[in-house]
Symmetry: C2
Subunit: 280 residues, 2 copies
């Protein structure tokens, strides 16, 4: 059995096929967690990845990439920049790909090692954390990361029970958000300690909460906004520890908003925005 | 060849298998448009359907429905209420179903005949229309309908180039929104006439527009909010005729928000809400 992070960069260059088998391994959450690696698939996500600060271990290319000038240009750019680029056949690429119609490129890269401590470093000023409280749908999680990055959130925090933020589908749906803001899996206790030590308020989205309109003017400088599981809502521990519950008023008879849409509205409504914008 | 709406309700009772073949037909947009029918699939959506005002032609049931008490209860309720319920085998059900793992129930129902005229009847008071301007992703369209219903929009209007709002995937994703508010496909000219005749302002979502924060206090009583295609943005005709362009400010370097999230934030921010909520 291999230990954590036991595959040195050089070994990939010595044996290109190891990159393929590594990409296949990384389809499993356990392998991603053990190795601290993830897969970014598709032209656009790989473009975003290599422009960002995250270290890339190697790139797997299938025949489909040559179908577009943009794909060819990306391959050339990667080779020029000194990345390990391994070409494989269509069937091999498909065996590692997460999509049904692969664009023919995926990169293996390192998950940034962002723990609660690194999160705390971001909290010496005003902050907005988006907290995923046992969110299970990878499409929703990807959209929420994308939304958090777009709306200027400080970080995205995934509490236990949440889909792996480093799964291929979440990374793809987030369109590069992982490379712009910290995306952190953390257990409740260390997260609660960060909230306490840095005086970050925790507000939980709940239909029984106060309307976000009325709460928005009183939103504190440092605020964590928790959105619960698609079906079950907030977890017991988050509901019990939330400083406030906040709701988005909806029409009678309609069950709920999509979790990604709800997160977007809350991040927008509770943004640190000059009060003048509302009063004008 | 059958003419439009040529399948009388009675014929279904005489020949149950015709319901199966009709459900299969309705997987195609052309068939849905020609017959004015659509398919609602899944326990929850069928529950919502039969509680709403829309006429149901018949219900197809597969063996999977018996797997849950909720499914069994729904079947019983439909039979008691006098609906045509046809049981078919698993393979037959799968041949008509749109999902990979069908819950074993789908209903064939009538698309409400809501044209521009019926839309106009909703416009004698304050109104919010959500306009889908060539939106192509059925998941986004379903989320946007669900969001529009939840946030109290008056209607959803689909301009040419938009995915069929009555496709099985959109209906499923909208979680019953089709049964709560008008969902209308309309060409630009008749829609423009409605806007003109009823003094409805048209605001288009565009990154180059004025920030929604600053525009919100000036939002008119009757407002149509147009969200453009996922890649291309607003169509030329909507961009040219919009009274204003409105943007959601996002962080530099991030390309955009998901169309469904953007629609949610705009509907929330531009809702007809007491100004006191902002000033408090």
């Amino acid at each position: 059995m291999r230990g954590a992070r036991s595959i040195p960069f050089d070994a990939l260059e010595d044996n290109p096929l190891r990159l393929l088998s590594l990409a296949r391994d990384l389809r499993r959450r356990k392998a991603r967690e053990r190795l601290g690696l993830f897969v970014a698939e598709g032209i656009r996500v790989v473009e975003e990845l290599v422009e960002g600060p995250i270290e890339t271990r190697g790139v797997l290319v299938g025949p489909a990439l040559a179908a577009t000038p943009r794909g060819l240009a990306l391959r050339e750019r990667l080779v020029r920049a000194g990345h390990t680029v391994v070409d494989v056949g269509e069937a091999d690429f498909a065996s590692a790909a997460d999509t049904d119609s692969p664009q023919g490129i995926l990169a293996i890269a390192e998950q940034p090692r962002v723990g609660p401590e690194a999160l705390a470093q971001r909290l010496d000023g005003p902050a907005r954390l988006l907290v995923l409280d046992a969110l299970q749908d990878p499409g929703n999680a990807g959209t929420m990361l994308r939304t958090a990055a777009a709306l200027g959130a400080t970080a995205v925090v995934a509490l236990p029970g949440t889909v792996d933020l480093w799964s291929a589908k979440v990374v793809r749906g987030a369109l590069g958000a992982h490379f712009r803001l910290p995306a952190v899996h953390v257990a409740w206790e260390p997260f609660a300690a960060v909230l306490r030590d840095w005086s970050v308020a925790l507000w939980g989205a709940d239909m029984a909460g106060d309307p976000v309109d009325t709460l928005a003017p009183a939103a504190p400088d440092r605020l964590a906004i928790a959105v619960g599981n698609e079906g079950a809502g907030l977890s017991d521990v988050v509901a019990a520890h939330a400083d406030r519950l906040v709701s988005i008023p909806i029409a009678p008879g309609v069950e709920s908003l999509n979790a990604g849409v709800a997160a977007g509205i809350l991040l927008y409504a509770l943004a640190r925005r000059p009060a003048a914008a509302h009063a004008s």
